[in-house]
Symmetry: C2
Subunit: 146 residues, 2 copies
Amino acid sequence: MSLMIQDSVRILQAQGYKVTRPRKQVLGVLDQAQKPLSPYDVQRLLGERGKYLNHVTIYRILDLFCRLNLAHRVLSSGGFVKCILGKKEGCHRFMVCRRCGTIQEFADGGLCREESRLAEDFGFHAEYHLSESYGLCASCYRLEES
Amino acid sequence: MSLMIQDSVRILQAQGYKVTRPRKQVLGVLDQAQKPLSPYDVQRLLGERGKYLNHVTIYRILDLFCRLNLAHRVLSSGGFVKCILGKKEGCHRFMVCRRCGTIQEFADGGLCREESRLAEDFGFHAEYHLSESYGLCASCYRLEES
DNA sequence: TGCTAAATGCAACAACGTTGCAATGGAGTC
DNA sequence: GACTCCATTGCAACGTTGTTGCATTTAGCA
Ligand SMILES: [Mn+2]
Ligand SMILES: [Mn+2]
Ligand SMILES: [Zn+2]
Ligand SMILES: [Zn+2]
């Protein structure tokens, strides 16, 4: 993980947002999970640790994190994951394992340019790309060879 | 549009599915819309034409169409669009205009191969890609130059 | 024209998401 | 540390979206 919780806290402060207990709790849950979490997933996981947050609060916190690019919404599942790339060039993409559900974030400037160039052929001016590769992660691929 | 309603009807028959009045009605609505439609959008549009379908029926019909690749779910909005590419090589991608909401479907085998190759660098075996470019369509781009 | 499996409608429910407003608490100031 | 202020949170109520089981209808075929 290149982007730590402490980095996220600093970004919140820098933008004038308060670093509250609920926000730190949600950051912690997102940081531990390797899979996308729905707002209600976050609530359940916190509940198991004896922490309670109202679901409205969780929605608002996740919205904020997405606006600040501290987290992303994974489209295929609707869940949220912590961003680990920071300001790396190119749109942030995901590889989603269909077997274990784990998520890997990556980015590639060249791929983005190629994608935008293709759209240009249709007269379309792309501003960003949403992209998820669906398949098998390395370890699940080995298991599937049985 | 390269794929017509009649083609969809033939695919339904060929796979042993009945060509019912509700299915033809949903096909008709999807065919006319240039934007992704939610199941309830479909219900509203049919309602305006004096046709009634239960929402459960619409959900089931859209699920079927997606399984047969007669339609796709557009992830960013959650709506459904009719597929116009048929069996064209490469995963079917979308360009979504942020101003007018229109959808353009396209595919490119080379882009898919490049995307899979990049995933392979992480040990990930991609089986298909979900991809949406977000920006301005040709006509909205001209208007935005004001 | 009837038969039958597939498809639809209905009712009830479950999950997900939103809004307005009152209560709380982070962070700066004294 | 205590005080203050406004962002943030909790609560309650509601609206939308999606699901399940079962009775009824109908497309496709003999
Ligand atoms: Mn990211
Ligand atoms: Mn298609
Ligand atoms: Zn896996
Ligand atoms: Zn447009």
